[in-house]
């Protein structure tokens, strides 16, 4: 017996809601919020790679810019948490517009290498910028108030706000993927020549997708800066670009649930294995290699294929 995909996705969403409701009673809330930030980042990246077929190797530029802009907005410009995050999203989206315009002039592996080099440009710019504090980054970012009433320094308050934003993001990504726009983007991924012959301006669709992905990555970075109360050079470093690729790869490229699962696994690996020191890199590297060699569809992709449904 087969179920309609929409019903399965609804069930998955209910399970996700249940998890974010129950987990804060057993798991450290900061860790859960960190997972949500990276899950948003991974969903944004997957939107581009999984549904657009565009492999960016420099997405830390948008996540990191988001992180720094939200931190700067909240600490120096007197923005509230929400204003800071919106500020971060707008600037990351603008950067995405510029970088997408440049990088989309090349394809495939060239696109990956160019996005990596462009991200390095952002890394140096932030490293050099006066407001960004060099090696120290921006620390002691205030969480502030929500709508002037709710104190976000309380972990429960900020958890509820983050959960709502995270669930909203999940629905938004679902909506984008299943919209006519999403269908066209998938059509371009599978056969660009055909999409062009039907009359679609494929370059424009790819650029819109890139900007969307960059904006959501900025949201992930901005939220991260607010909850952890700092922005560091790691946020904008190529290692972070690699990490988001790994999250999506492990979870399952082109699946809806994959990026969330992948982000949860990688953040937990990072936090619980921190005592391993440099061996964490070796563990991450091994996961990368094993997934690429043996397990290219990732966890959710493999489960989905076994069950014959798209998750």
């Amino acid at each position: 017996m087969t179920y309609p995909a929409g019903r399965i996705h609804a069930v998955l969403f209910v399970i996700l809601c249940g998890l974010v409701l129950l987990l804060p009673f057993v798991v450290y809330k900061i860790l859960l919020m960190k997972i949500m930030c990276f899950a948003i980042f991974a969903m944004a990246f997957n939107l581009l790679l999984g549904f657009g077929g565009l492999m960016s190797f420099g997405h830390a530029a948008f996540f990191g810019l988001g992180s720094y802009m939200a931190a700067h907005g909240a600490k120096e410009l007197g923005f509230s948490a929400i204003e800071s995050v919106v500020f971060a999203m707008v600037l990351s989206g603008l950067l995405g517009l510029i970088f997408g315009w440049i990088a989309l002039k090349r394809q495939g592996i060239y696109f990956a290498m160019i996005s990596l080099a462009l991200a390095q440009l952002v890394f140096y710019a932030i490293w050099r910028a006066d407001f960004a504090g060099g090696e120290n980054g921006i620390q002691a970012v205030p969480r502030g108030m929500f709508l002037g009433m709710v104190d976000l320094s309380n972990d429960w308050n900020i958890y509820v706000l983050f959960t709502l934003i995270f669930l909203g993001c999940t629905l938004l990504v679902y909506r984008i993927v299943h919209s006519p726009f999403g269908q066209i983007v998938k059509g371009i991924r599978d056969n660009e020549a055909r999409a062009i012959s039907i009359g679609y301006d494929t370059a424009r669709f790819k650029l819109i997708l890139f900007v969307l992905s960059a904006t959501l990555s900025g949201l992930g970075g901005g939220l991260k800066a607010i909850v952890l109360q700092f922005a560091t050079l790691t946020d904008v470093h190529w290692v972070t670009s690699g990490e988001v690729v790994l999250m999506v790869l492990v979870g399952g490229i082109g699946t809806l649930a994959g990026p969330i699962v992948g982000a949860a696994i990688m953040v937990v690996v990072h936090d619980y294995l921190a005592w391993l020191g440099p061996w964490v890199m070796v563990v991450q590297g091994s996961i990368f290699i094993l997934t690429v060699l043996l397990f290219r569809q990732g966890i959710i992709g493999t489960i989905g294929r076994k069950l014959g449904i798209s998750l």
Partner: protein, 290 residues
Amino acid sequence: MSFQLLAGQLVLGLINGSFYALLSLGLAIIFGILNIANFAHGAQYMFGAMLAWGLLEYAGIGYWYALPLVFLGAGLLGLLTEAIFIRRMYHVDPLYGILLTFGITLMMQGVFRNYYGVSGLPYSVPASLSGSWNLGVMYLPIYRVWVIVAAVVICFLTWYTIEKTRIGANLRAATENPTLAEAFGLNVPLLKAAAYAGGVGLAGLAGAFAAPVYSVNPMMGSEIVIVAFAVVVIGGMGSIKGAIIAGFSMGALEGLAKVFWPEFSAMVIYIVMVAVILYRPGVDIFGRKV
């Protein structure tokens, strides 16, 4: 601004350019023949430097013997890496190749960091190349001249091997049309393995050249590989000549930028890359389609 400062930075820039050229050359060969963007190139460069350091530290083998040994050692590492990992990427989307080599990079850096930390290990300039020449207007360290000359010679030899010899002709045939090359009796898998090993050997050799100039540490290859990627894009992906010319000229340009525009010197190569992409969409610097 003094002439001394300008000339000094130009020499420094050409040194960096030598490393960019050697690394981009290997990347271009590997990309051209295997269609793999070898992210591990930086880690393999680091491996070469660590190997040169280790040979001296543990076995007392000095610089001159270390150079050929490092080339062979890195080449062997390349052969093993190709046989165990890279080979499995030939029939899947090339994007997985960059992910796989990224994983290899993390593993290599992690292992070396665990044993040697992140602070630099000292490797002194060999006695035969220490000291500097007094040119009247500036002092020219002999080791730097040696690195630049050696890099030019190695680049030329590699270019010559690929463009003018029979081995090179076979390699180019395998790149152009692997199926047809195989039908003519060429051992294409062997050629690919050799190309990867050669590229890695060049990266290792560059690392050995770098050991006395930069500090030897496990992260030393992590930034330079991204610069090398940008250089390869500027020179035209897979173009050997383009990689060499772009490598040296980008090094020199970066050196000049340190004089005129110090805050932005680290960015100048990426800016040139953007200009090349925008100004010549779809073609490399020789006007060929990419």
